[in-house]
């Protein structure tokens, strides 16, 4: 019997590499921040890591709100309207 070809993400090691790549990028992005010249419109844009924190918190809140607040209200069986 022919075994199926191994694909890139079939190896857990490759998945792990992607994750390490992500974490490395994050550290790099924060490390670069002091080096760039900011031209902010709002005061909070000057805080260190504002965009990073905002993006992270926004997404966590988004998922939690969608899962625990919206879904219990709106979820119905697939044949609800039939």
């Amino acid at each position: 019997m022919k075994t199926e070809k191994q694909h890139i993400f079939d190896k857990p090691k490759n998945v792990q590499r992607v994750l390490y790549g992500l974490f490395g990028t994050l550290v790099l992005l924060l490390a670069l921040e002091p080096l760039v010249h900011k031209h902010p419109y709002f005061a909070w844009e000057e805080w260190f890591g504002f965009y990073a924190i905002y993006g992270f918190v926004a997404c966590v809140l988004l998922v939690l709100a969608a899962k625990y607040i919206l879904r219990p209200f709106v979820k119905r069986e697939e044949d609800y309207y039939d």
């Binding site: 760039v36 709002f42 965009y51 993006g55 988004l62 998922v63 709106v74």
Partner: protein, 589 residues
């Protein structure tokens, strides 16, 4: 010598010949239509206008300015891409409907008067409908009918507004309108229905996911963006649009997170993206209008690219729910790559089209010191990456392997996706091209070190949130379920209204039937039969009493008299009797 033919004519009349052609010639013909039309358009000057005098009005069926040109260009490009994408389908209905639909959108964009505008606006609805119905499922039929109902309603509101507005202004010319009278509010709302404003949006998330594989590509491009154009033309700087737009960017992303049907996820993110354009129009500065137009241009490409990739997945696997998909990168690597490019663009990664267009709107909001709007848009930017940027490619092509071992998408689909993907990157890498066709001169510089870095921080930390939530198991599992939305109002309210009306009106009907046909008609016929006898007896009784008839004789006489009257065999005619009574009365008085 014909100098110029308006695009709408080429598309709509050209579409009619499509069913007559076969094979390669047909394919070449369909691809030639947008190309020829585009060449004609390139030869026109800004400021060209055709005037026609009709029924006492000065109609301008074709007018070109820089705002209409941006939309004209992108509508041509996406028509060509859509035609290529659907070349493999043997469905004349879809081909014709798609071209007529695109032609109608071009008709709206180049309309110089309200009359022409409205005619093409309605054709847009009618032709779009067939792209939904062509799927030929029960669900698509029902969704198509709901789509039609909503748009007919919207069309009527718009028409009412236009008629009132024309009588106010004594002119049919199409230009800045602005909110100031009931007429303008009607026009505003009529356009808003097509732009999928909050609570008026559910026709979109209801119908688009039910359309055909190719139909969704066309649908995602034209209806809402035509409305964006219309609002940019008639209501720039209208403040409510800022708040409507901000709400539009925010609320759909919550739905997108829990939605299972991936084309419905894209539909929610479509609303979210149109929200950015609404904000741009609402702010109304040169930068923000440029931003809205640029974002519409970029959005049409990456949104259709995403719809094309999901269409290809559906075409090959027959599935579109996240619960049924996963691991497709193994068998459809090119589709996965193109989808990822679309996903990166919608998320506004640097070097993609979304980056150079969305940031114009955000900057315009910042320039106006609109902190709440700006924070909302930033939240929506992170959110859109979360559901369109990661969720779509991840659940379709990666995630757990659902075991589909299918062929890569057909060549025509790959070519179409390739062209769209090329433009997503081209516009992002070379924004001058896009900026050069915008309505106003552009001074905006997207690629500053801080802008690139902050955008990457925002996106990559959103990715971190997704990764952590997924690994910890908190990320909401995909569930085979549907989510209620504003369409509940008419999907449940409609039948309820029907039943209520049935109860009230059928009740009234039954009551009327009982009263009129049952009692009134019966009574009338009884009166016609027995009434005269009773009336005459009133006269005869005193007469008999005076003539001294005994009890039994009177009963007999009464019975005989009644029989005679009812049979109509009285010795004298009834009229004669009445005449005598009348004369007697005259004599006495």
């Amino acid at each position: 010598m014909i100098e110029f033919i308006p695009p709408a004519f080429i598309f709509i009349l050209g579409a009619l010949a499509v069913p007559l052609l076969r094979g390669r010639f047909k394919s070449a013909y369909m691809m030639a239509l947008p190309v020829v039309s585009f060449l004609f358009l390139l030869s026109t000057q800004v400021g060209t206008a055709w005037e026609v005098h009709f029924l006492g009005f000065d109609l301008v069926p074709f007018k070109v300015d820089r705002l209409s040109l941006v939309f004209g260009y992108i509508f041509h490009l996406i028509s060509l891409i859509g035609v290529i994408y659907t070349l493999g389908f043997k469905s004349d209905l879809e081909h014709v409907a798609g071209l007529v639909y695109a032609g109608s959108a071009l008709g709206v964009v180049f309309a110089g008067d309200l009359f022409t505008f409205f005619v093409f606006w309605e054709m847009l609805t009618v032709s779009a409908l067939w792209l939904i119905w062509a799927r030929r499922t029960r669900a698509s039929q029902a969704a198509g009918f709901r789509y039609l109902m909503v748009h007919v309603f919207g069309g009527l509101v718009l028409l009412a507004g236009i008629i009132m507005y024309i009588s106010e202004q004594q002119s049919v010319s199409l230009g800045f309108i602005g909110l100031h009278s009931p007429a303008t509010y009607c026009i505003f709302i009529g356009m808003g229905i097509n732009a999928a404003w909050p609570l008026l949006h559910s026709w979109l998330t209801d119908a688009y996911p039910e359309s055909t594989v190719g139909g969704a590509v066309f649908l995602s491009a034209f209806t809402t963006k035509t409305a964006v154009y219309a609002l940019a033309r008639t209501f720039p700087g209208t403040e409510p649009l800022i708040w409507i737009g901000a709400l539009m960017t925010a609320f759909p992303i919550f739905y997108a997170v829990i939605e299972n049907d991936l084309r419905r996820v894209l539909s929610y993110s479509l609303i979210n993206q149109v929200g950015f354009m609404m904000v741009g129009i609402g702010i109304g500065t040169e930068l923000s209008i440029n931003g809205a137009a640029a974002h519409a241009f970029a959005h049409i490409l990456y949104k259709s690219l995403l719809f094309m990739s999901m269409g290809a997945v559906m075409f090959r696997t027959g599935k579109i729910n996240a619960t049924d998909l996963g691991g497709l990168y193994k068998s459809m690597p090119w589709t996965a790559l193109f989808c990822s490019i679309g996903a990166a663009s919608i998320s506004a990664f640097p070097l993609t089209s979304g980056f150079v267009s969305k940031s114009m709107v955000l900057d315009a909001a910042a320039h106006g010191h609109m902190s709440i709007v700006w924070l909302t848009l930033l939240f929506a930017s992170a959110g859109v990456f979360h559901h369109s940027g990661i969720k779509i490619p991840f659940f379709a092509f990666f995630s757990h392997d659902a075991g589909h071992r299918v062929k890569e998408a057909p060549v025509s689909m790959l070519v179409a996706m390739g062209i769209a993907a090329f433009f997503c990157i081209f516009l992002g890498a070379y924004p001058k091209f896009l900026y050069s066709i915008l309505p106003y001169p552009v001074e905006f510089v997207p690629y500053t070190a801080s802008h690139v870095l902050f955008q990457l921080q925002l996106l990559m930390f959103s990715a971190l949130a997704f990764t952590l939530l997924l690994l910890s198991g908190i990320y909401p599992a995909e569930i085979r379920a549907i989510n209620l939305d504003a369409d509940l109002v008419y999907r449940r309210g409609g039948p309820l209204f029907y039943r209520a009306m049935a109860a009230v009106l059928n009740g009234a009907n039954r009551l009327a039937d009982q009263l009129f046909t049952g009692r009134f008609v019966g009574g009338l016929s009884r009166f016609a039969r027995h009434g005269p006898a009773h009336l005459l007896l009133l006269v005869m009784k005193p007469y008999w009493a005076v003539s001294g008839l005994s009890g039994q004789e009177e009963v007999d006489a009464r019975e005989k008299f009644r029989r005679q009257v009812e049979a109509g065999v009285l010795p004298i005619s009834i009229l004669g009797l009445f005449a005598m009574i009348y004369l007697g009365l005259l004599f006495l008085l």
